[in-house]
Amino acid sequence: MHILGVYNIKGGVGKTATAVNLAYLAARQGYRTIVWDLDPQGAATYYFRIKAKVKGGGKALVKGKLDLDSLVKATDFENLDMLPADFSYRNMDLKLEDAKKPTKQLLRLLRPLSQAYDYVILDCPPSISLVSENIFRAADGLLLPLIPTTLSLRTYQQLLDFLEGHRISGLQLMPFFSMVDRRKRMHLDVMQSLPDTRKELLNVAIPYASDVEKMGIHRMPVGEFAPKGPAWQAYEALWREVQERLA
């Protein structure tokens, strides 16, 4: 089982779109895949037309009273399931603090799923917190959508410092450029300057595209309604590159 987190400290960088579209691509290849929507905003859950509600919420999960399997909802796509978001996740940090080994709770919860799924994709809340630390410790790979701006690069550096400070190793970092607007001078400059220093950067970049925004109208992955568009081609290429990295 591969566990992939999709994460950025900043919100609005195309994180949920990445989680949803890549999970859909994995499932379409025949891999049993599950998306866990850990972001209380529940955008991924909304995209899959599932109602956001976890009985007992994050609290019961952390306390071990609920097992994840009972919360799983099937999506409309074969091989693709979801753990829907819950508004109560907003207090997850507090619950985690009360638990034993607070930084490894997520891994404990995920363990029983390892037989049932080939890929677990975590749509993470945008912040650095106990929840995100749990994610870093559970995941094999972390996908980091970056908007090519200097501010984005700063937040990326903050993450690297955090990982180093907390001795989190063995996590494959896969930053890539997201919401790229080729008409913007700054985007092009940042993209040109970065790759030399950051070997981990993926080659594929996701363009800024209205197809991605339309996911909210169609409530489905881009591949279902605009499979010929540049955004979808980019997601397909991104997934290929991610699989190569994980291999």
Binding site: Q29, G30, R32, I34, F48, R49, I50, K51, L71, V72, K73, A74, T75, D76, E78, N79, D81, Q115, A116, Y117, R219
Partner: protein, 518 residues
């Protein structure tokens, strides 16, 4: 991930279009593009996957091929792995629990295609108020075909409900509705239906002696019955042995042939010995022509254990020996196939069947022919049992190996007799006694096999030396011979203890109680 599928067959007054029209009046559906796929069901010749509680299905869908283990009982889910083509054994599977389960079930056997199902499938997705899919309905038209394509036909239309995780209520509602329409949920899997289509059924082959004897039946009639069942087994394995699909075909063929010889000589006084004579010779000949190939099969099967018994440093030196065994096996196999294709073999089998299928004469002058089989069985088993005890007690620590070989032959006769007549005795008791006999027999078998192998490997070494084998290889083979002789010594030491158990008072009482009646 899919949950356990619920399958329905349609009642006589409703076809798939009729059912669809009915459902569409009451629910909102979205239809997926129709799909066609081919499912290939696999198992070993002797149904090892089935016996392990599963069905193996290989399916090509879109560009992706996958192998699925479908559990036969309970509500466990199908487990699938991606594979580019149908596997012959567990080796191409990715490491994991499924691979081990399949490897454990199959052992040396290969997977064979048993039946193919061609499926045309329409998928209706039941929608809720958010246009979210909450249940999938598959309307299936299935055709079955035998792997060679000679037998094919249509299966009844099927409806499959594929529940989606987290959406239990819509499933329950639809099930109630289908019940009302008179649809029956079926337990028979698609695999079983397709097998019936091609005129087969699960477990339609077994090398075990699967029959129930009538204790009052004439002994000659019963003996023919047993021999016919053995002939069926022998014939069923000829093609697989010739094609060398796996080593068990030849093994089962040889066991059936050996049991036949044993039945001819041990079910005494039921047939005219002059009539039996040519067949007795014929079956001895079958033993001869198949022996060399079986020997090589055994060495090849044991090779991994041989290699692992050597110190790490010597293991790679043994590789030329493996290649030698392969070449020898090929030669032996070719020679055997020529013999199995010969008119002599065909005539032998044909005339044997003719003779067995001829009714027995109303009046027979053979001393035991007209006796009820239960009496003859008791007498024969009891007699050979006594002989085993007598011979076994004569074995002393310094007895020559021949003594043990003779004892082994008697034990084998006893085992075969007990197996032929198993159904005449209470099941738990006879099984237990066969098990105890087998423990002794295994020890005697080991003792002899280790010696035979050590001697044979010595001969192979000589032959390989002439063919220019390296010193390193011969040294490794020498180490192997030493190890085998050591194991033989061990078996010899264990014999006394095992025989004492077999000769224990409790065991003697059990044997006397079951077979000493007459």
């Amino acid at each position: 991930m899919q949950a356990q599928v619920i399958q329905y067959l349609l009642p006589d007054d409703l076809d798939l279009p009729g059912l669809e029209a009915h459902l569409r009046e009451r629910h909102r559906f979205l239809e997926d593009p129709p799909s066609r796929q081919e499912q290939r069901f696999l198992d070993s010749f002797d149904w090892r996957i089935w016996q392990a509680g599963g069905e193996l299905m290989y399916e090509q869908r879109a560009q992706l091929g996958r192998l699925c283990w479908l559990p036969r009982k309970g509500d466990r889910l199908a487990e699938c792995v991606e594979l580019p083509e149908p596997p012959r054994n567990a080796e191409p599977l990715p490491a994991g629990e499924l691979r081990e389960r399949i490897a454990g079930a199959l052992q040396m056997r290969v997977l064979l295609p048993l039946v193919v199902v061609r499926q045309q499938c329409r998928t209706l997705r039941l929608l809720n108020e958010d246009d979210k899919t909450v249940l999938r309905l598959l309307l299936q038209d299935n055709q079955f075909a035998s792997p060679d394509g000679r037998r094919k036909g249509e299966l009844e239309g099927r409806l499959e409900l594929i529940p989606l995780k987290g959406y239990h209520k819509p499933l329950q509602q639809l099930r109630t509705e289908l019940d009302r329409l008179g649809l029956k949920s079926v337990r028979e899997s698609l695999f079983e239906s397709a097998l019936i289509g091609i005129g087969r059924h699960p477990m339609d082959y077994s090398s075990k002696l699967n029959y129930r004897l009538d204790p009052e039946a004439r002994s000659d009639v019963t003996a023919k019955h047993i021999l016919l069942s053995l002939l069926d087994t022998l014939e069923a394995n000829v093609e697989g042995a010739k094609a060398d699909l796996d080593s068990e075909f030849l093994h089962d063929l040889r066991v059936a042939s050996r049991r036949s010889r044993s039945a001819m000589s041990q079910i005494k006084g039921v047939f005219d010995p002059r009539e039996l004579e040519p067949f007795r010779k014929g079956f001895a000949w079958i033993g001869q022509i198949t022996g060399p190939t079986r020997d090589m099969d055994v060495y090849l099967l044991k090779y991994p254990a041989y290699r692992d018994s050597l110190p790490q440093r010597l293991r790679s030196d043994l590789t030329p020996f493996h290649e030698f065994l392969h070449r020898q096996h090929q030669q032996a196999q070719q020679a055997m196939v020529r013999k199995l294709n010969s008119p002599h073999f065909r005539k032998l089998i044909k005339s044997w069947r003719q003779w067995l299928e001829e009714p027995v004469p109303k009046i027979s002058f053979q001393p035991n022919a007209l006796q009820p089989i239960s009496r003859l069985a008791d007498r024969r088993i009891h007699k050979i049992y006594k002989r085993v005890l007598k011979d076994g007690r004569l074995v002393k620590p310094d007895s020559p190996p021949e003594r043990l070989h003779e004892l082994r032959k008697d034990c084998k006769k006893l085992r075969y007799l007990m197996e032929f007549f198993q159904s005449l005795y209470p099941k738990p008791q006879i099984r237990e006694l066969i098990k105890r006999l087998k423990a002794l027999l295994d020890n005697l078998g080991d003792f002899q096999d280790f010696q035979v192998q050590a001697t044979a490997i010595g001969h192979f070494g000589e032959q390989m030396l002439q063919e220019g084998a390296s010193v390193a290889t011969l040294i490794a083979m020498g180490a192997l011979v030493g190890d085998l002789l050591k194991q033989q010594d061990k078996a010899r030491q264990e014999f006394a203890e095992l025989f004492a158990q077999f000769d224990s008072k409790q065991n003697r009482q059990a044997f006397e109680g079951l077979f000493g009646g007459s």
